[in-house]
């Protein structure tokens, strides 16, 4: 074990005094650099597992009528392969990369919330363990990564696999939201002086925009998973007949699932936007357009999910609108491809390994985009939807763009992280093996798909051409596996005996290259002056610096308070979660359900308890005002009143539940009861969390912790409390008032 410590020590990943307890130094770290590396190592570990699953799938498909794998095993393997690669490989690796690079690029000392950062990371191994534990609990999930209803329901998937799958994704989703909140707050509040928002390096800009996509999209999935788990564990019927709707699952899943594609693609765009200019020795062509098109892509990605459902039969009208909006995405992505290409034109291009991977990613992404456009056309989509044509398309996005960009990023940034250069010779071997293997595997799958080979089927008959085409695909997969092994070899060799990288091995221009490799614990001893988007270029070329990016807007330079920013971001993400639950309630109760309904609820009693909750918004506001005026005792008094009013509401809700239970209404009675208990129950849970936060604040206040006024903590908790109340306004209107208006 001491060898590991000494290798880590030599690579600059441990300080001398940490050698003795190196495991604790890493396990208990809250340093963004170490957390970033932990994310990436975890991602690499699961990449090996997911890759092994892929190899088994390709071996099974190598020849027609193969019996290597049992059909059930095959189903589990492709489910686990998809889930692992997206949630346990692509997202953690990109989060890890961003965790390491973003604070450095903005000249910060760490992330805004280091402990939250560690929490977000540790949810990844937890989620991975929960997901894989399903194998010990009777069998892995065998439902595809999107787990379509009703296959994901108990009658069709009686084993525990789907439960563990949903639980794992819930855990991972919470982790993703927490790290993204951290990214947003870090970029908004931790930037070095003069690092204005319009001077941000593009990678950081894209992580910033992407984080908004994460906090909007993941809660939607979380809501769907919660509903699925309630269905499975409490015998309800959200997505199951009688009454439930399988299409509802698809709508919610793809409302998350389409943005998810961009959640992993936008960081890859960010990587390309960093690497291509550096190795072309030119600033990026059209920074503003690359940055702006990211916003357009993020916006559109939330708008087009129904194009995943052309074959479901939503109707011509729906299809037409989503054909049009999906085709629109081609414009901002095209702008990006154009900008990257134009950056290379006329540059002195250095084809080092990072650049090779990024150029290949660009070309392959262009190809993926073209097949993507063909999928946006509903008529063509009907023909190719469940075929290998689609498999080939999304692997061109996920591998051709994202994995290639990640490999480019690792070859680019690893010297900064370890202080050791990776072998360019081995890197080029990795690149060519990977490129040949990838294209061999997936180009031919387009033709297999057009020839009609369906996806997700464990074997195929010996139709003309299918056998050799699949064999070619399998051989290609082995090339990719070899490339992965070679990369790990290169990494190990560089850690053991790589040449020192120096501060700035690529002559790059962003701030992470201004510090040592690896950076000291506090990241920077001093920062170069920041006047443009390429501070290190200006530093090295004082005679011809970049044009100064002035400050025009107050918003670029003002630093918002970090607790408030975090709570606002958290509220945005919570709105997504409650939005889905409220919409589900409205959808399922649009026509009265058979059996008990909203008319059986006691409007008056709940109305009185609701008034208590609404009044508590007033008392918490008074509490803030008292603190602002320096009246500590009054502040504590109003705070206690708030807690009291909130508790009265919760007790009232408990009494209401007891009454309903006594009258025989339980969550599985009918869809009204299911949606009612889910919606009000989750709101109640949030009230309880709010009460806990208020109790902590009250404890702090009584301990005299608020000498500094106005306290951002009280304001932040107060804002959250207002949000909980505001949600109840909507829930109360939808559940209790709406039926009386009809």
């Amino acid at each position: 074990m001491n060898e590991i410590a000494s290798v880590l020590g030599r690579a600059g990943l441990l300080t001398a005094e940490q050698r003795e307890h190196w495991k604790m130094a890493w396990l208990s770290t809250v340093d963004h650099k170490r957390i970033g590396i932990l994310y990436m190592v975890t991602g690499l570990f699961f990449f090996v597992i997911g890759g092994f699953e892929a190899m088994l799938i390709r071996l099974q498909l190598a020849v027609p009528n193969n019996t290597l794998l049992h059909p059930d095993t095959y189903n589990m393997l492709f489910t686990m392969h998809g889930t692992t690669m997206i949630f346990l490989v692509a997202m953690p690796v990109l989060f890890g990369l961003a965790n390491y690079i973003v604070p450095l690029q903005i000249g910060a000392r760490d992330m805004a919330f280091p402990r939250l950062n560690a929490f977000g990371f540790w949810l990844v191994p937890l989620g991975g363990i929960v997901l894989h534990f399903s194998f010990m609990a009777g069998g892995g999930p065998a439902v595809g990564w999107f787990a379509y209803a009703p296959l994901n329901e108990t009658p069709y998937s009686p084993l525990l696999g789907v439960d563990y799958w949903a639980l794992a994704l819930l855990v991972l989703g919470i982790g993703s939201v927490s790290v993204s909140i951290n990214f947003i707050v870090t970029v908004l509040t931790q930037r070095a002086p003069h690092m204005t928002l319009r001077r941000l390096p593009l990678f950081t800009w894209m992580i910033f925009i992407n984080s908004f996509l994460v906090i909007l999209a993941l809660p939607v999935l979380n809501a769907a998973l919660v509903m699925l788990l309630i269905d499975r564990r409490l015998d309800t019927h959200f997505f199951l007949q009688p009454g439930g709707s399988a299409i509802m699952w698809q709508n919610i899943f793809w409302a998350f699932g389409h943005p998810e594609v961009y959640i992993v693609a936008i960081p890859a765009f960010g990587i390309l936007s960093e690497v291509i200019p550096v190795f072309s020795r030119k600033p990026i062509f059209g920074y503003e357009f690359v940055a702006g098109s990211t916003v357009a892509i993020a916006f559109l990605s939330l708008l087009v999910w129904a194009h995943h459902m052309f074959t479901v039969g939503l109707g011509h009208a729906v299809d037409l609108f989503f054909v049009a909006s999906s085709l629109l995405i081609a414009i901002p992505t095209g702008v990006k491809v154009l900008a990257w290409s134009a950056t290379m034109v006329g540059g002195r291009i250095r084809f080092n390994t990072p650049m090779l991977f990024c150029v290949a990613a660009l070309v392959q992404f262009l190809f993926a985009g073209l097949t993507g456009i063909s999928h946006a056309v509903a008529a063509l989509d009907w023909q190719t939807k469940n075929s290998y044509y689609l498999v080939a398309h999304f692997h061109f996005v996920f591998v051709g763009l994202i994995v290639f960009a990640i490999l480019g990023a690792l070859h680019y940034w690893l010297p900064k992280m370890t202080g050791r250069i990776l072998s360019d010779r081995l890197g080029k071997w990795t690149f060519w093996l990977m490129t040949i293997g990838f294209n061999l595997t997936f180009i031919i799958q387009h033709f297999l798909g057009l020839a009609g080979m369906p996806r997700r089927v464990y074997t195929y008959p010996a139709l003309p051409g299918w056998g050799w085409m699949n064999m070619v695909s399998t051989i290609g997969a082995f090339f990719m596996a070899a490339a992965a092994l070679l990369f790990v070899w290169n990494l190990a060799a560089s850690l053991l005996s790589g040449k020192p990288a120096g501060d700035n091995p690529w002559n790059a221009w962003t701030l992470e290259w201004a510090t040592t490799s690896p950076p000291p614990h506090e990241n920077f001893h001093e920062l170069p002056p920041i006047r443009s988007r390429r501070p290190l270029w200006d530093d090295a070329n004082p005679d011809r610096p970049d044009p100064i990016i002035g400050t025009k807007w107050k918003a670029e330079t003002t630093v918002p308070e970090k607790n408030m920013t975090a709570v606002i971001t958290f509220i945005i993400s919570e709105s997504g979660f409650f939005g889905v639950l409220i919409l589900a309630y409205l959808f399922y109760n649009a026509t009265p359900q058979p059996g008990p309904g909203a008319h059986d609820l006691n409007l008056l009693k709940t109305g009185i308890f609701s008034l208590c909750l609404f009044a508590s918004s007033f008392t918490i506001w008074r509490s803030e005002v008292s603190l602002h005026k320096g009246r500590q005792r009054a502040m504590a008094g109003w705070l206690a009143a708030t807690i009291l009013l909130g508790s009265v509401f919760i007790i009232g809700q408990g009494l209401e539940y007891r009454g309903l239970f006594q009258s025989g209404l339980v969550v599985s009675s009918n869809l009204f009861a299911t949606t009612f208990f889910t919606l009000t129950g989750f709101h109640g849970l949030h009230v309880c969390v709010g009460l806990m936060a208020l109790l902590i604040v009250l404890g702090l206040a009584l301990g005299g912790g608020f000498k500094q006024r106005p306290s951002p903590v009280l304001r932040a908790v107060g804002l959250y409390w207002h949000f909980v109340d505001a949600v109840w306004v909507l829930v109360f209107s939808a559940v209790y008032l709406l039926p009386h208006l009809r």
């Binding site: 503003e288 940055a291 702006g292 916003v295 357009a296 916006f299 009208a317 002035g550």
Partner: protein, 259 residues
């Protein structure tokens, strides 16, 4: 009646609309003599007149929910925006109660106009009753103006800064598309008056239902989709304009140069 006949004869010569349009033109020309931005005003006037006089209005008047939705979007989001763009850049809008200048008021005006007028009872009333219909039209224009002044006020300093504006527009878009999603997938009819038109003044019902293929269900779906997709694209256009404003290269102040 065939489609071609309808396009020719479906125009309504509503005197109050014509008078309003003429008065607006006269007032605009008289007030802002330099007329450099009259193109925007002409566009606003043209959209206003076409929305309320063309066959679209006839369709919205009892035949098609989706036509009503198109009219709703044009009146709320297009006409006021074009009008604000037509004002000279020196004009201050800081008149009237301070409350109206608050971003939250603007946001609630834009989003509220969408939700309020699609409550089933109000949606039906606006078709069945002339005064309610007139009230709806006027309120859409006014509320749209309140919404857009946060973004398109002639004076730069009276507009939201680009990041705030983007947040404003994005959240408004989400709040409206939620309603669009509800209308699209709702198993119940939002505006029941369109399912059974009281009178078929133009003899068009046959053509619409069978020729155009607008069954009442599909009509409502298209109405919801108009609110969901194209309307979001209007907000997206505004967001892109804000990004352009944000990234426009300013002359850097001398203090910055020295630092």
């Amino acid at each position: 009646m065939t489609t071609a006949q309808f396009i020719l004869s479906g125009w309504t010569w509503n005197p109050s609309v014509l008078v309003t349009g003429t008065c607006a033109l006269v007032i605009y020309v008289a007030s802002f003599r330099d007329g450099r931005r009259i193109g925007w005003f002409a566009a606003a006037l043209a959209v206003f007149l076409l929305t309320l006089l063309s066959p679209l209005n006839t369709l919205a008047d009892g035949y098609l929910f989706s036509a009503h939705m198109a009219q709703h979007i044009l009146l709320l989001l297009i006409v006021p925006a074009l009008f604000l763009l037509s004002l000279p850049r020196t004009l201050s809008l800081a008149v009237g109660p301070r409350l109206f200048a608050h971003p939250l008021a603007g946001w609630l005006a834009g989003v509220g106009a969408m939700w309020f007028w699609h409550a089933p009872a109000l949606c039906n009333a606006a078709v069945a009753s002339r005064p309610v219909h007139a009230l709806q039209t006027v309120s859409l224009l006014v509320l749209g103006g309140l919404f857009w002044r946060q973004i398109l006020a002639p004076r730069e300093e009276e507009c939201l800064s680009p990041p705030r504006a983007i947040f404003y527009l994005f959240s408004a878009c989400v709040a409206c598309s939620v309603l669009g999603v509800i209308i699209t997938f709702s198993p119940v009819t939002v505006c029941s008056i369109y399912t059974m038109p009281a009178m078929d003044r133009f003899g068009m019902l046959q053509t619409i239902r069978t020729g155009w293929g607008f069954s009442p269900e599909r009509d409502q779906q298209i109405g919801g989709l108009l609110m969901w997709v194209p309307m979001c694209l209007i907000y997206l256009t505004a967001i892109l304009a804000q990004l352009a404003r944000w990234f426009a290269q300013p002359a850097s102040p001398p203090a910055e140069r020295m630092s």
